[in-house]
Amino acid sequence: MSGDGSLDRLKRDGRIVVVGASLAGLRGAETLREEGFTGSLTMIGDEPYEPYDRPPLSKQILLGRATADHTLLPRRRAIDAEWRLGVPATGLDMAARRVRLGDGDEVEYDRLLIATGVRARPWPKEDEAELDGVFVLRTRDDAYALERSLAQSPRRVLVIGAGFTGSEIASACRERGIAVTVAERAAAPLVGALGGVIGAVAAELHHENGVDLRCGVMVTGLEGDSTGRVRTAHFSDGNSVEADVVVVALGATRNTEWLAGSGLGAGPRGIACDAGCRAFDIRGIVTDDIYVAGDVARSPHPLFGYQFLSLEHWGNAVSQAETAAHNMMSESADRRPHIWVPAFWSSQFGVNIKSVGVPTMGTEIVIAQGALNERRFTGVYGYQGRVIGAVTFDQSKWLQFYQQQIETTAPFPPPFPTVDRRLEGQHPRDADFPDPSVPTHGPTVTLSGYAPDDRRLTFTPARH
């Protein structure tokens, strides 16, 4: 593809297929057009809806404040695509460059962008998962079903898992005045993503807002009544709780099953790709015609020791899709690496939580500004003497500074004074991430240094 005119032909009348019609798929398609692609574009999505935004699903939608059309993603430009919505992709023939669809159809491509994302991890016991009143939350349909049942004033909601989604659901329930129990296997909410120091603050938020928070327990079983409606949940500590609604918030599973046997380096931890978003095959050889973006992708990041990062972050989906589409439309010398610095936000119990970098790599934390007990602070994570991540509670305007610190591998702990540095900001402490051998459901960043065809599901935050 170097100067022989093949790129021009691809741009002019190539066939590009995008599998996954959510945020990454849409932004990728828009970027392709932006970059001058005039050939045929096919968008394949298993949900029947046009691309919509997911962050409001656990917030405004659950509060009953927004409706379906308010979650549609704004369009940057017309993409003039053929839409195949409501039809999942079921297989890939890499040699013949064909995607198989659930309705038996096949679509041929010259370039493929895979952005199939993740789905909610279901309750592992199938018969219990099928009880009325048991929900997961990932899609628009999930959100509306859950909202409808919250609107019927359940006596109690049980949320299983206190990661970001679980905590936001609990927050919405309390805002609606609904009694809620949260069961979390770890010692505190959000520990998987932010560690125990911050987790303790999150636990206080739950308590203050009237959440019945049970940490260090697992839900061992869900029990229904004679009509098949969930009634009771049993915990590993022998207790039980009566609940009309149970929301399973145990993290996500990557949508890669449809690629099984295709030869692509895809597995439960996502699809491995290079920093230019090109997918690896199972031999570890990079493909020329298959690109990956969004939650389903796993790519090496130079700032974080070239570890393969898979990020379930909104901003990552946008940035990676733009890079993938740009690279698809470029000669190799013009390609860009995907070097987006991880960042995410959450809104719960009236607090705006934001993070940059990779807190889970951090071994130490210092409260650089503000104070934990005021719930307004900036926590900075350190790893091997450098700044590796940061989190703010209601102080997001400082985050940009700490992102620059991460990007420039600035020393940790920060050696300079700042505004609003308190006594507790003088000394770093153990960030207190849980033992990686104890699985938690919640990290939104998972790190691994393994080869792309490695399919073992292991959780490996950096530890000293």
């Binding site: 009236g350 503000g370 305007k397 400082w398 500074f401 300079f416 004074p417 700042t418 505004v419 609003d420």
Partner: protein, 411 residues
Amino acid sequence: MTQAILREILDYAHRANPYPLYEELRKTPVLHEADGPYVVSKYYDIQSLLHDPRVSSDARNLKSPAADPLAADAQEETALPPSFLRLDPPEHDRLRRMTNRPFGPPHSPRRVYDMHGELKDIVSGLIDGIDNPDRIDLVDQVSYPFPVTVICRVLGVPREDESRFHTWADTIAAGLDPAPDADREERDKIVHNARTELGMYLAGLIEERRKKPGDDMLSELASSHGPDGAMTTMEVLSTAALLLIAGHETTVNLITNGMLTLLRNPDVLGRLREDPKLSVPIVEELLRFEPPVQLVPQRTTLADIEVRGVTIPKGASLWLVLASGNRDPDRFDHPDRFDPERGDIQHLGFGSGIHSCFGAPLARLEAQLALSELARRLENPRLLEDPPPYRQNAVLRGPRHLPIACDGIRP
């Protein structure tokens, strides 16, 4: 030679068009000479420093205030405690949070939005009052009285007191912008008296509102039941004074600079006349192209900070030249072109970071309404003087008068 640029920027002779000087300034992105301030003029550097927690807004951290050629002018004599504009967290955060509670989201998301109709009526009234279309001073007749009236309504100043309020505001504003030949002592005395009278008036009003609260900001500030409790009377006074002063001159300049720029770009003015919704991108581009606050002169470093290889030492005075960053060609294509249709207008006009303009949503709405109404109602408007006469002030830069004429006023 570099010091000469600073002097030139402050020199009134360049008030009408300081932008070539800023271009010169950007050749030395961090400029420092002798005892002067460290002057930062490129977009990304300014943006970084506005978000840098090693930079303080608290004048008490300044090593030698005298070194700053603007320091004497900028800080007025006042017995009030510093407002949140001149404080660092956590005091800044507490006061700004309490002030925001009755003003913006999440607690008062409709305060500004609901003023839409009232603001439009005020602007319409001012345009109705234009008696001689052959010679209009846009400043005196529209852009100057408009924001004061709005502030009165926001604070909850009774209608019958508005004219007294205007008089005090006029005097204080004139004090901020002294004519070079005026008797300084006499001027200071007049301004001081106006401040004292205004302060006493507001103090009385606050006491009234404490007893009998309305739904205005003053009532809510004086009797807030939020988690931070209520402000002291001194804090309410200092905050009200900040809203008045910071929200006034700047908005006047935004509207005046806006009309001036539109009259210099008649095609854009024509499009605005056809489509009032264009006022939204027009005001954003104006905030980039002709920002009402040209530079932020009152920041101090708490530690040594390196910017582009230059170490700005602890305790130094910083000037962040927003208007220069807004014209930085490394950030904006064709920065000297007024183009409301550019897709990316992330200007520094309202600053950025924790001190980003508190009144921005209100200022935007005021400017959008004023400009779209002026475009709609003035028939064939044209400039009578270009450039118009400017105020002295190099920081809050804008025309003192904007003489225009038109063929008539549409209903």
